[in-house]
Amino acid sequence: MLGGVFHAAVLFLAAAGLQLVFGVQKILNLACGSFYALGAYFGVSLVTWALGAGAPPSLFLGILILSGVLLAAIGPPVERLLRTIYDRDESFQLLLTFALVLMFEDVIRFFWGTAPHQLGSVYLIYGQLKVGALTIPVYNLVVIAAGATIAAAVGWLLTRTRFGRLVRAAAENPRMAEALGIDLPRLYSRVFTLGVALGTVGGALVIPATAAMNEMGIELIVEAFAVVVIGGLGSMRGAFAGALIVGVLKAVAIAIYPELEMLGIYVIVIAVLVLRPAGLFARAAA
């Protein structure tokens, strides 16, 4: 159950990145999973390097988040590439991000090979909590807290700050926003980078608990899609609720009837689409 919430926290980060970019740029970024995978691999490498260089192991959480943020530097160039097709049909945008998926998959293969990468012992460094018969790694709680904090921070950023107002204006009507003097290219570049950062940090945070694998990117996309569809496209609250539903459901399914792990999620996705086509937290009808 708590494992589900842990997974939900990570999933939320990736899905939030997807939602943010979709909400503003109207691009459904298939490559969000690739950013997540890149974040994971880069996190492993950076932590391993830092520990080798003598950094205290207890700092590794900070290093992971730092690695995610550093990696977000790939955001602007990727956004620059996507910019060439903003005025095209959505199908082309989807395909270009699919091209990115293919390329990033081999980039990872090139730098890190095909073997899974693990972080080893740092996972339990913060100790474990015993609640009754359960043993919970404190790290999981830390990540859940981090996920919640980031969710709150993004919410604050979008609703309370000047930057957030500009972003929401641009999402509502980009041409009008531009006519009012908003530097749209710069704004898009920043939003996209923020979206990338959410994905890479999510990938980095998950890594102490599992291993970085080649397939993790393309597998995450499917889950992130489920989250987004359940929650409603473009809605942050939806991403939050959707991630919780998917994460917990997955954990429950694994415990009870493993065959239904993903199947159950898709059944929910389709049920949501039939009963509430716009998602649970949709803003306007799609």
Binding site: L81, S91, A99, M262, L263, Y266
Partner: protein, 619 residues
């Protein structure tokens, strides 16, 4: 247009591959046949209907697993039976999934299809006992046309009889698809791609046609999947994985979705390129990703786009093409002294003389039953009251103008009357049937058509095609999947009639999107007339047209209405010359309420209307 010679040569070359010596290339060609078939279907969905599926691999997997089940579990080895079953299974799955998916378009459609593909994938992957899990299921060698070819070894079988069998299937599939895209059905699909709302306004239901296209695409995918599974001898779950769907779309784009043969070329190039690049480097995905990015950014029309820039094949606009000597991009700029309607069959009199519409059986003195009637209609948009208890009845033979200042609720009233908007309360009846909010498609069937205030056309269809869509819709030809539209004399004659009435006769092969603004609106109006409705609603048919041209257009409209025997016209109009020159009755709206309803003379005498709506007394 690709010459028939080139096509024949390509076919010959493909047929000769098995004799070229190396079996390797022949085996490499085998997946091409399966993918080619699947992509023909996918392109019906994307290129013609405008729906991008990211889960089409589902149907390939269905076909492959059908083949596996029949051969391994049931011992059914007749390939014909396998193919028919694969098609049937694909269709059975495509109907419910399609029903859900086609409620959405664009990105949402892509995501939903992806979800369905992955649903099937996880089913295949997890239910080991049923599907063999990640190991997949074996597909045994089938019998072709009842013959087992047991004397041939596997490679000989695949590069011999099976090769030609698959090639024949691809050719057959190509011919069938060729007919589908050139049928009235295919035209309706393209109309929906261009403008689904406008298609609905002429009676073409986007949902039904999209569903049909989805099922056809699924069947092609299923057959393609079965064809694909025999050479590999295996049906495995990765066939349904979403990246496989992505690759299918990649092939489609590589070849060029705007061209009928693009998908086939794309499949061919993709397979051979993949073979070559994979032998060079293990990082073939990177190369392919970069290639896809380049194609998307620089060559969105794909390889075929490099060959023919005119994109003739995805726009099978053969109707009337032979008639017009001008290219499709000729914009008629030289307007005659009588406005844009040079070839108008109506002589434009200097002063428009008003004549009432023909009303059949209208005994003097009795008032006929209302054709269309609104009673106490209220329409709210949130807190805004757009219509506040409007009642209106229009009878046979009437020409009614709705006037009022901006924001008076004129367009809202037209929308409610034409079934686009559901009134918040009140009743709308047409010929005695309650039509409140039933949608334009059914209203068109009942005999009510409309045109729009803002330009509403199919930009990528020619004038002839635009009119043909309406004629096809009215004649109920849209269900004809395999009939040739170009050879349909009735459709062609009626398109010719309407075009002549509205002065489009010499511009039939112009793309609607390239017409001047006023002509775009006139084309919209012409489409509404081509439906031969009993009642026509015109929302500012002459806005955006110079005052001089307005009368000419109105003359054409009135003449066309007589010719087609339209029983009543309701129009929204700002130009008071037009309003008073043509109307039998004028309805004035203000602030969502009915201000006045009477003959032009009564309205002119109504000081309240004159001050609020007209501003000043008209001369």
């Amino acid at each position: 247009m690709i010459g028939r010679g080139a096509l024949g040569l390509a076919l010959l070359a493909v047929a000769l591959v098995p004799f070229a010596g190396r079996a390797y290339y022949a085996t490499l060609m085998l997946p091409f046949f399966g993918y080619g078939l699947a992509l023909l279907g996918l392109n019906l969905l994307f290129g013609y209907t405008g729906l991008l599926s990211f889960g089409h691999a589902l149907f390939l997997a269905l076909g492959a697993y059908t083949a596996a089940y029949l051969t391994s579990a049931f011992g059914m080895v007749h390939f014909e039976a396998i193919l028919v079953s694969a098609a049937a299974v694909a269709a059975v799955v495509a109907v419910p999934t399609g029903l859900l998916c086609v409620r959405y378009v664009k990105i949402y459609f892509g995501m939903l299809t992806l979800a369905f593909g992955m649903l099937f994938y996880s089913f295949l992957f997890k239910f080991y006992a049923l599907t063999g899990g990640d190991e997949g299921m074996r597909v045994l060698r089938p019998k072709l046309l009842g013959r087992g070819f047991d004397f041939l070894d596997k490679v000989e079988f695949l590069t011999g009889p099976y090769y030609f069998y698959a090639l024949a299937l691809l050719v057959l599939g190509t011919v069938v698809m060729w007919r589908i895209v050139r049928s009235p059905f295919g035209l309706c699909l393209r109309a929906i791609r261009e403008n689904p709302d406008k298609a609905a306004a002429v009676g073409v239901s986007a949902r039904c046609y999209r569903l049909a296209a989805f099922v056809i695409a699924g069947v092609f995918g299923g057959v393609g999947g079965a064809l694909l599974a025999v050479p590999t001898g295996l049906a495995d779950p990765l066939l349904a994985y979403w990246t496989h769907s992505g690759n299918l779309v990649f092939m489609l784009l590589l070849g060029g979705f705007a061209n009928f043969f693009g998908p086939i070329l794309g499949a061919f190039v993709f397979i051979f390129l993949q073979d070559q690049v994979m032998s060079l480097t293990q990082y073939w995905r990177f190369i392919f990703g970069a290639l896809l990015a380049i194609v998307v950014i620089c060559f969105p029309r794909g390889l075929m786009g490099l060959f023919d820039s005119e994109g003739a094949s995805a726009a099978p606009s053969d109707i009337h093409r032979q008639r017009g000597p001008h290219g499709p991009l000729r914009i008629p700029s030289q307007r005659g002294p009588h406005g844009p309607l040079r070839t108008s069959p109506v002589d434009t009199p200097a002063k428009p003389a008003h004549e009432p519409l023909p009303s059949r059986a209208r005994p003097a003195g009795t008032r006929p039953r209302p054709l269309i009637e609104a009673r106490d209609v209220v329409k709210l948009y949130g807190d805004v009251v757009a219509l506040d208890g409007v009642s209106l009845a229009v009878r046979e033979g009437e020409f009614v103008s709705i006037i009022g200042p901006n924001g008076a609720g004129k367009t809202t009233l037209v929308n409610v009357l034409s079934g686009l908007g559901k009134p918040s309360s009140g009743r709308v009846t047409f010929k005695g049937v309650d039509v409140a909010g039933i949608g334009p498609v059914r209203l068109v069937r009942l005999g009510l058509a409309r045109s729009f205030q803002l330009v509403n056309i199919f930009p990528g269809l020619t004038v002839a095609e635009t009119l043909a869509v309406t004629v096809v819709s009215r004649l109920g030809r849209g269900r004809r999947l395999l009939a040739s539209l170009a050879r349909d004399a009735e459709v062609r004659a009626q398109v010719g009639d309407v075009a002549a009435l509205f002065g489009f006769a010499d511009r039939l092969s112009c793309l609607a999107g390239t017409l001047p603004q006023g002509d775009k609106k006139l084309l919209d109006v012409a489409g509404a007339f081509a439906l031969h409705p009993d009642v026509i609603l015109l929302d500012e048919p002459t806005s955006g047209v110079s005052t001089r041209d307005k009368h000419a257009i109105m003359e054409v409209l009135v003449a066309a209405a007589k010719r087609i025997a339209i029983k009543a016209i309701i129009q929204v109009e700002h130009d008071m010359d037009i309003v008073f020159g043509y109307s039998d009755r004028i309805v004035a709206l203000h602030g969502g309420r009915l201000l006045a309803d009477g003959t032009p003379a009564e309205i002119r005498a109504d000081t309240h209307v004159v001050t609020t709506v007209l501003g000043k007394r008209p001369a």
